[in-house]
Symmetry: C2
Subunit: 366 residues, 2 copies
């Protein structure tokens, strides 16, 4: 099967680029003396998780319990569930997951929730490894740093069926700060309270074995923090326009990781001399960013969304007008929600389909 | 199973509202002497298609061949594929579909494509029913109205294995014009060339049996066109914020169809007195509109996207602050791409789950 045989729109992964990305981050973490637990919310694909682990990752972070359940069933170990598990039925599912995969970690940011997890774990006879989630300024989940976090760590320790393992602090608001120096300053400012909280908790006599955080945007920034033990960057393995444009240490684009993910679409209509339509629209690409998909090595056109199922190509160079049936690849604006639209990803070696991988946790936000 | 047992985030359909919507549109089309072939791209759910047909619809329109294949396999008949089928492998799939479901219609907007469809149909021994797709100003697919459309209709007639059945003209750019009078003016202006093209083709001696078009926004406008034979509105069966806000004949909101679709999410974190986090973000709601999801009968909070898996609720009334574990329903901004994120829809009768329907064509944009 080759590129031309793939029904469109479809999701393609350039294996050469992907493999270099995975190896580069693994080598970087190793050189910095940090563990790596890449975020699987990016890809939701057990085969990608396995390849990250084969290159040295501890396991993968999962945004949700449903995602972690799929990874566990596929044999992936070293799971960290990065969103609090709160609903009673979800807590029961978590206990089943921990019974099957005892090294699973879960985050907490609420004392009642800690008490409930402790009760359920005790009654199920399992021990659950817990990180205290710290809000490092992202204004999502997480306990305030400092004393409130220490109090919650103590609450965890007070539960015989829970094991306090450390802290998580995800500075999502820093991940896309434009320009490396500005991003470094933002990330250092955000992560400082996490580091201070680590010290505070250790002074109180509770060992903090794990401090997890970081993003693709801060991959070469957060390793400067001695108190951080593991990186949970996700997007680096496939990349997207959003991360490319934030800039790297060396210049105006982040070039250390390669754009490995594309959507291939077909020109289904060329109604006028200045317009062509492709078969990929709002259901083929993420739409949460203020910039559109970009064609890959295909000048002379500009993509704009034109409804659920169509993209409108403005033909900017008529000598390169798309032909009916032409297949064009595009970089998606944002990798995670784009991948989540597809059931499979075509793993390409040049023009050949080397494998088709199931995005088995697609849609598993539960 | 009740509302409280559903793992979140999840997609819910209020059956009472849905059934009234389906019946209302069916009665409206009947009273106006029009056929109804609702767009299944909205729901991608064979069970919803069957219910629309049970109430009198001819069949369903499908945005893509993949969607139509799923509907056909589920026993749905009267399919119209509203995007041109161009790639050679897709044309072979179309022939298999037409062999299985001979009343399937497909649109064309290009003479080469007509020739290729004709050749393939002849060599397969099938006859394919064809509509000529007209660009009525939406600047997506479609032939220019008037003589170019007539020429294409003649090209269809010249193919012994194709059968010219009529025209399609979808005025997507009119569907969301704010205010009923302004929308009516826009839609009349857009649809006039379609009506003139019908007349032109009939004067040329080619019977135009079908003229398909219309949207939920113009449901009570396009029926005024004597030349239109069938409506292909889609969103009306479930509705969304986008359609509600365009206004109706009677006032500032479109009230004739009821908001039947919601996403239920759980409060997973209440980190501060002015903020709560729910477990639904970019992967739980469409993000293509410039307005966020709205909570349903739950004052005191405002939703904002906060990443792939989180929504941030700003607590505007502290006396009604969300509790950890509270379940909250939200209206999605745009129904089609929201439904396309989910594998199933919970069909609710009050608080009871009456059925769980598979969104079998989810992801089938191919």
């Amino acid at each position: 099967m080759t590129r031309d045989d793939i029904p469109t729109p479809a999701l393609l992964l350039d294996l050469d680029r992907f493999e270099r990305n995975v190896r580069r981050m693994a080598a970087h973490a190793r050189a910095a003396g940090k563990n790596l637990r890449p975020h699987a919310k990016t890809h939701r694909c057990p085969e990608i998780a396995r390849r990250q682990i084969n290159e040295g990752a501890l396991g993968v972070a999962c945004a949700k319990l449903g995602e972690a359940e799929v990874m566990a069933r596929a044999g992936v170990r070293g799971l960290l569930v990065t969103t609090e598990v709160v609903a009673p039925a979800a807590i029961r599912r978590l206990m089943r997951l921990v019974s099957a995969v005892p090294d699973t970690l879960v985050v907490v940011d609420n004392a009642e929730n800690v008490a409930e997890l402790g009760r359920e774990a005790a009654s199920d006879g399992v021990t659950v490894d817990v990180l205290v989630d710290i809000d490092v300024g992202g204004r999502r989940t997480g306990m305030a740093p400092g004393d409130p976090a220490l109090a919650l760590a103590r609450a965890v320790v007070a539960q015989p069926a829970l094991r306090f393992r450390g802290l998580q602090g995800y500075a999502g608001h820093c991940a896309h700060v434009m320009g490396w120096e500005a991003r470094r300053e933002a990330s250092r400012g955000a992560m400082a309270p996490l580091m201070e909280t680590r010290t505070l908790i250790e002074y109180a006599g509770l060992p903090v074995e794990i401090v997890a955080g970081g993003s693709t945007g801060t991959w070469d920034i957060d390793v400067e923090l001695p108190g951080l033990t593991e990186l949970q960057a996700g997007s680096y393995c496939v990349m997207d326009i959003d991360y490319r444009r934030i800039g790297g240490r060396a210049g105006a684009t982040l070039t250390e990781f390669e754009m490995a993910l594309t959507v291939i679409a077909t020109v289904v209509s060329v109604p006028t001399a200045d317009r062509a339509m492709v078969d990929g629209g709002l259901k083929a690409f993420s739409t949460d960013k203020p910039f559109p998909p970009e064609s890959v090595e295909r000048p002379g056109i500009e993509y704009a969304f034109a409804g659920d199922e169509h993209g409108r190509l403005t033909i900017t160079d008529r000598s390169r007008a798309p032909k009916l049936g032409e297949r064009i690849e595009f970089f998606p604006p944002h990798c995670d929600p784009t991948i989540n639209l597809y059931d499979r990803i075509y793993a390409m070696r040049g023009d050949k389909v080397e494998a088709v991988w199931e995005i088995a946790a697609r849609g598993r936000s539960d």
